[in-house]
Symmetry: C2
Subunit: 298 residues, 2 copies
Amino acid sequence: MNFKEQLSEMAELVNQQLDLLVPVKDNKQKVIYEAMRYSLLAGGKRIRPVLALAYADILGVDRDFVMPFACALEMIHTYSLIHDDLPAMDNDDLRRGRPTCHIKFDEATAILAGDALLNKAFEVMSEACNNMPENMKTRGIAMMAQVAKCSGSEGMIGGQVIDLDSEGKDVDMDTVLTLHKHKTGALLTAPACIAVSAAGMEDTIEAEHIFEYSEATGLAFQVKDDILDVEGDTEKMGKAVGRDAKQDKRSMTVLIGIDSCKNMLDELTVKAVKCAEFFGDKGNFLKDMADYLLKRDN
Amino acid sequence: MNFKEQLSEMAELVNQQLDLLVPVKDNKQKVIYEAMRYSLLAGGKRIRPVLALAYADILGVDRDFVMPFACALEMIHTYSLIHDDLPAMDNDDLRRGRPTCHIKFDEATAILAGDALLNKAFEVMSEACNNMPENMKTRGIAMMAQVAKCSGSEGMIGGQVIDLDSEGKDVDMDTVLTLHKHKTGALLTAPACIAVSAAGMEDTIEAEHIFEYSEATGLAFQVKDDILDVEGDTEKMGKAVGRDAKQDKRSMTVLIGIDSCKNMLDELTVKAVKCAEFFGDKGNFLKDMADYLLKRDN
């Protein structure tokens, strides 16, 4: 199987689980399930859960063991998009090629669907811990605690706050890097935290390489997003482009220019590939993933 | 110590913990901590965490063991109020006697502060589980899983959805009861779930009485809220009254009349007191609590 086939196979595994974890319901609150599913099953790239599975493969952890946590990351990512798109936030109409949640439903439903997805992520992780054999529960709890930290006010939400606060302001590169490290970086590092804790391999040389890979690709992901916001195509992206300049946000392309961004992206990719090579042939998927994230057009 | 002194001592213990768990921060995202603290430390009644401590006392569980979970409930309750007050939801300006979070800050910050409090609740519970001795972790996980269920789309959020969906519609008593059972009942039952699991006393006669008490007071709480919305005083309540009729919501007073509501409240209180009496003298605090919830004017 080549990389693209592996990637879509893993994404499909994740999609099947998400479909089971947030089912269609026929009760008085069924609209919340419709809204959750509308945004969750809209065909995102599933980068975060796929990375969690890929790291698990490398560290010799059963995919089934990390799957609920991998799915929780996608739920958290999706809820953050729903809330980010709200009129009071980025006010976006288009996401993953479809009307955003508050356009398709209404604002109140979108707020609650986001809340429900965040809550569901922790329901799923708690249940997974509940079902673990006694001697694995410590690992499960560590995994959940790390997800909670990555998604909270010292992680992703912190980044969203810095982002809001930076709008229309003169901000320096330090602030922009802090912003990205939190807003997108934290949840892109979470898959590494999950897999390393699942393996019980904290403080090993393997963990070090996984974390370095995950930080490099996490930042590369955001640099690429900023480049795509300038050079990308709305149709391919499935969301509006050119918004950073329009909203006077300090994206990295505005701050250091698009050429420097491209150099930075190349350097980060080289670094990530090097980390992947540490694992020999087992690192091939991660190598290809770094390359895929470099070249993606959506 | 009389009941009021006990109540305020327990609420004060909770307040001290909440203050520690959501500290003032001086980083780039410090505004989120200000907003979280603004709403969280606004002097609510702390009914949910106090009930968790009271049930723990009765079942012989160390208060310190349940405290993080009790605080998590208050964080979840507060986040739900912040989001409920948003313009797209109930559009309220006043809460706990002060401007609502989105009035004091702005809508985007209020959305994120709510998200951050929900996330923080699970950070706190995961950390608590992390710190438990091996042989108690199973109980910790069970406690967290139950909180997650009570606050999610089959619990509190489900109730908010039914509430939204019922606005301006002809709804029946069955729907209104389902609404209340979810919207306020679920999180008022959570303290019982926490304490019973902390004690490892699922399926005991004691648990049965705790759950029955908690369901009766949970519904009584909402009936009283509906009565106060008609007869209450804005100043004492710390929030706008008369909103149910204004928004044409199907509150219980509209549906069955205020006299029937008062009868229902009395019956539920008698039922709760009977459950409390099962525990003899140890049940005195719960007995007084049922009476307090019956007579409260805010």
